[in-house]
Structure formats: structure tokens, C-alpha cells
Point group: C2
Chain length 382, copies 2
């Protein structure tokens, strides 16, 4: 696979970025020539610091990055983030009752380790706010990261200034041209155009249409295509659309290194591309995820609407842990409810492999695709 | 642009298929080396026969095709299609009242030419049924077409047998792998994978994910990518994803030859890719179209749900004509209501050009894209 300017800029063998919440995937991908990017959101500062230390030690001289979630709008933003106690007061009782009733209906047991509850609630509340993001960024800046990305909004200037002062590039995910232009104005170094097909927080515009328009709008800022990449054909397509690389996520959830819940892995392996939806049921913002009884319940118009960020994550953090715990024990209700963020490419993700092998497979398939496409000068009949 | 097996099969210069309701676009595209495909649905048998005669005379020795709409489910299908009178009885009064109230609210005037009403109602009722499709196919078979396509379902065997007996290839649009497999079993010669981003009746899965899976599922049947094509970059992407060509639609609505309503053309030129939606408001089935006050009204959960095919088309045929008539006079309400089917690529369609020029532009951009991508063997640094 030919090295391009993105590779040179970040010191990569391949312009393949791997978004993941698993430090082990970051380590494998970065050591194999791609760019591992650790999603810090959902981690406590202590957990994140420990993960960064491990990655730094395991990836000497290799490029890796960090992804934060700092939306342009969230409850408490006027104050840069409210305390958990203050946020808890914004969660209506009706919503708590609905979640409890849902778990009861699916016979999901109580948490065995009560500490988990407090821990996850803290994470849910603290990471999606300016102060929460600042705390995580302060940790990230202690390590030799090459890239800091905001998955949902525009970083305040302090983040970019500090990153640039340390030689760290700043990136952002966008789902519309107008958002890309805002990021360009804000001075980001790389833009990730994320299509409708992508897992996680994503917009409504598919990559065939989104990528070329973002490329044209932000030139000469390089663009990565996010969403839909399951094999090398989609990388070739991304390049054809004008991207300089790809931002991948779902594909790593099926790797051996990934922390994906085993029941979720099994569901992913069996799912088709028709088995995902964009739903507010897991974070409060539209995020593509596997359909399950959980998303069915929240999409039902008879039930309460999801809450805005970060309230929804706080509301359901206990429930998610209880479902994960019961699904591990193969309990029926929890197995029906459990789901996770994943793109429409889930239909192409059928087996578990080591992350380095996945990366090699992608580059090999890319080469094969390019070989089949051929060069127009040599293979044209006209 | 290199000729491939699709070109050889159909005698084309370029593997670019142009779906259109305008005979003039078919003529221009087919004469310029692409494949014009006339959408017959919505035409009376007399109108369709006259269009086919004109195309045949204007395109000697050139390839062109016909597209019908024969869904797998529609009201009256047990009987192969009901009479208009019988179908009219299935339209609830509440729906008629809602449409009348909507037009009143937007101050849309009565039809000036009462004949138009009867004519369009007949079209709406008759074309979406086995007997209606059979009547149109009987006309199509009189002309030297190269391709007969079903845009929505699986053709009954009689259609394929007759087509094949005359050396006509049969194609079908699909939005899911399982539909592609059904079409393969039914013996189609070419499959058009239509992504979420496409205009008109389309499914939920984006092309980056849909196309490679359909290609793998139906091999060696050739696959075209439908949806998202606005310039040559998307054609290169389609080829990278494994398609052997592209099926285009929206792009021709902005050509000089197209019959597109002038107010719709203006709206298209100004629209971004965020200005479309999949809605049942225009045919009763999910179809991507421009957002307007019309789609807003039907998407509002307080209002009646759209009716199934072909009832919805019959219900609104009068309204559509009245809106078109008033929009031509620049009346405010009708201008707000008017819309048309179009893909998310509408954000890239900004100017009117002759169809032959559009085709040449696509192929030139495709060549440029392929040139930039380069061949892996010569430009790889590794």
C-alpha cells in the first residue's frame, strides 16, 4: 500500500486509523504500521492514565492518538460541566422508573459488585463536559501522542493551542459539510468525514456523497473516511472519493484484543447490515448500534424519549452494567437487551482475528483491489 | 474510461446507466455512449408507446432500456390489479380530507385543465400492478430494448422468459443482500445495488457496505452501484467496491433535456445533502426525495399515515398536479410544497447542463480520479 502524505505526517506505514476503547488494539495496530486511537470517553482519569502509560511503553517510536467526546451542546455546559449531584437532579423520575421497569420485565438481576455502579456513573457524568474533557486532555498531553481528536464538536482554542505547542495534530469527526467548514475555521489539522453507515455518533449523509464534498470544502486539509470499512475495497473507495485514508472502528470490535462483550461479539458475527439503527437510546445522541430489545424499547413512541447528554449515559449506566453482567451468565433477558455501537459493516464482520492480522488483511485487499482496477493508461481499450 | 464486460454485453462506450423519465435524456445518453433507461411508471400506455417510438428512431444502433415498477406487495395483487374504481374505494375519506385541507392551507388553486386529473389518476392506479406492468412490458417488447428492469420487486417468470427469448437482459434494483439473492434465484442478468443515499425507492444500507456484499453474494452476475453518483469520483469508488458500472438518476434531473419542474430544478440547485429524506409521502413506499412542506406534513405523526401502493399515488395525484401548476406561477404555498425524488448527491448538483456533456464530464473525472489513485506497482514507495 503506497505511503501518502498522511503516512509521512504521522510516521505510518498505512493511512489506516483504528478508533478503539481497547489499549491492546491501539498497541497492536500502531505496532503493525497503522494508527491506534484510544477513545478516552467513558474512562475515569485513573483508568485513562494507566491505559496511556501502557500504550506508551508498548509502542516505542510508534504513532498513536487519543479521541475525546466534547459535544457542542450538553446539559451543564454554561458552567463547563455540573457536578454529578447537580446533574442527577435533571434526570426525571419517570425515566428512572422506565429503566427499572424494563430491567424487571427482562428479569435482569441486580449488580453484584456495587462499586461498579458508582464508578460507571462517575464516568458517564464527568467525561462529557469541558472540565471532564480537560481532565482527560491534561493526561493525554503527558504522553507522546501524535493526534488528539474530538468525536462530536469543536475543541475550544485551549485544546488546539496546547496540542500544537507540543507538535500534536488536532482532528475532528464531521457528518456534514457545514460542520467541516467550522472545523476548518477552528484550525484543525485533519478532518474525519463520518458517513451514515458508521457506528457510533453519526449523521444522516452516506460516505459516497459526504466524503467528496468535505474533501472539496476543506482542501488542502486532509480528510479520512469513517464508516463502512470492513475490507480493502472500501479503503480503495475512500481514496477514490478523495480521502487520504480511513478511520475505522467497528472492525476492531471483532479482534482478539478487543474488550467487546463476548455476547456482543457473537451477535455481531451473526448480524446482517440491516440489523443496526441510529438511535438515541445509548448516549442521548443519535448513535448507530446493533438493534436489540434495548433499542426497540427506547424507539417505541409510547416510552420516554432519551435524555440529552450526559444525562442519558448517567441514567442507564447501572442498567448497562447489569445487562452485561447477566448476559455473561447467558441469561435470556439480558442477552436480548445487550447491544453495542457498530456500523452497517457489521454484516461483513464474521470472525475474530488478531488486530495485526486484520490490518495486514486490509492492506492486502486494498492492493488486490487497486490491481483489479488497473491504471487507466495501460488497460484502457479506448 | 476502460470498456469492461458490461460495455461489451450492452454495446456501450461507458458502463454508465441513466435512469430517467425523460425520453430526451435517454436519447442523449444512449447516443453519447451510455445506456439510457426510460422509467415507464407513471406513463399511460399511449404516452409510453409514443416515447419508445421516439427513442427508437433517435437512437439507431444504440442501447437503451426500460424500467418498470412491479412491487412484491400492493393493494389488489391477489387479482393481478384491481380496477381504478375498486381501488378508489380503499382510500379512506380521512385521507382525502387531509390532502384537501393541506392544499387549502397552502392556498393551492384548483386544476385548470380537468383532463389532467383523470389522466394522472389513471396512471397512478394502473401502472403499479401486474396487469399494468404487463401492458407496459407488452409495449416495451415491441421495441429493440436491451434491458428490462424492475425497480421494486421480482418479475414474474413470464417477463423474464419473454425478455430472454428476445435477447433482452433483465435487471433489478435491490437494497439488501437477501433481495439480491432472491433476484439471483429468479434468474436476472444484472443486479443494481441501490444504497441509502439514492433517490427514489431505496433502503437503509449505504453503498460502501451494500455494494461489496451484493457483489460477493451474486457473483458472477454483474452489479451496478445506484446512489450517490454526482461526479467521476463516485464511479471510481463504485468500481473499487466491486461494481462493474453505475446506475444514475438524480444527476439527469438537472440536465437541459430533463422534464424536471423548473421550481424543483431551482430547489435542487440550492439544496445541500442534508435536505433530503426517505419518506412514504409521495408513493406510499419509502422513497428519498427533497424535504419540503409536503414531506413535513406527511411525516408529522399527528397527520394520517401514507397509504400503501398504489392507493397513495392515486390519493395525491390531483394534489401533485395542482401544486405543479401553481408553482409554475410562483405561488408561495405551492413553491413550499413542491418536491421531487432525488438522492443525497443533490448537494453536488448545482447547474444545468446538456446530458451528453454530463456524461463526458463523468468519464473525464473518472479518468482523473484513476490517474490520481495511480497503479500500486509503479507508485508504491514500499
Amino acid at each position: 500500500m503506497k505511503k501518502n502524505s498522511i503516512c509521512e505526517q504521522f510516521g505510518l506505514e498505512y493511512p489506516i486509523f483504528a478508533f478503539t476503547h481497547s489499549p491492546d488494539v491501539v498497541i497492536s495496530v500502531s505496532n503493525a504500521g497503522g494508527m491506534g486511537v484510544l477513545g478516552a470517553s467513558g474512562m475515569t482519569p485513573e483508568e485513562f492514565d494507566s491505559a496511556m502509560k501502557r500504550i506508551t511503553n508498548a509502542c516505542p517510536e510508534k504513532a498513536f492518538g487519543v479521541d475525546l467526546i466534547l459535544p457542542n451542546k450538553y446539559v451543564g455546559m454554561e458552567d463547563g460541566g455540573l457536578s454529578l449531584e447537580a446533574l442527577e437532579k435533571h434526570i426525571p423520575k419517570g425515566h428512572r422508573d422506565f429503566v427499572n421497569k424494563l430491567l424487571e420485565e427482562y428479569e435482569v438481576g441486580e449488580l453484584e459488585d456495587q462499586e461498579k455502579l458508582a464508578s460507571l456513573s462517575a464516568k458517564a457524568g464527568s467525561s462529557v463536559s469541558l472540565s471532564g474533557a480537560r481532565a482527560l486532555a491534561n493526561i493525554a498531553f503527558k504522553y507522546p501522542i501524535k493526534l488528539l481528536v474530538n468525536a462530536l464538536g469543536t475543541f475550544p482554542e485551549e485544546f488546539r493551542e496546547r496540542a500544537h505547542a507540543q507538535g500534536i495534530k488536532v482532528g475532528a469527526l464531521v457528518g456534514q459539510v457545514r460542520h467541516a467548514l467550522k472545523q476548518k475555521d477552528a484550525g484543525v489539522d485533519i478532518i474525519i468525514a463520518q458517513g451514515y453507515e458508521a457506528g457510533g455518533h453519526t449523521g444522516d449523509i452516506a460516505n459516497t456523497v459526504l466524503v467528496p464534498q468535505v474533501v472539496d470544502a476543506v482542501a488542502p486539509i486532509p480528510v479520512l473516511m469513517a464508516g463502512g470499512v470492513a475490507d480493502g475495497r472500501q479503503i480503495a473507495a475512500a481514496m477514490a472519493l478523495g480521502a487520504q485514508g480511513v478511520w475505522t472502528g467497528s472492525i476492531w470490535l471483532m479482534t482478539e484484543e478487543s474488550e467487546t462483550h463476548p455476547v456482543v461479539k457473537k451477535k455481531f458475527a451473526e448480524a446482517t447490515s440491516a440489523d443496526t439503527l441510529r438511535s438515541r437510546s445509548s448516549t442521548g445522541k443519535h448513535a448507530r448500534q446493533l438493534k436489540s430489545s434495548w433499542t426497540d424499547a427506547w424507539e417505541d413512541s409510547k416510552n420516554p424519549d432519551p435524555l440529552p447528554m450526559p444525562l442519558h449515559g448517567m441514567l442507564i449506566s447501572d442498567a448497562k452494567l447489569r445487562i452485561e453482567q447477566d448476559a455473561l451468565k447467558a441469561k435470556k433477558g439480558a442477552t436480548e437487551l445487550i447491544n453495542y455501537f457498530v456500523g452497517q459493516n457489521v454484516g461483513m464482520l464474521n470472525e475474530e482475528r488478531p488486530a495485526a492480522e486484520v490490518l495486514q488483511k486490509l492492506t492486502k485487499e486494498y492492493e488486490e483491489t487497486m490491481g483489479k482496477l488497473g491504471s487507466p493508461t495501460t488497460s484502457s481499450i479506448k
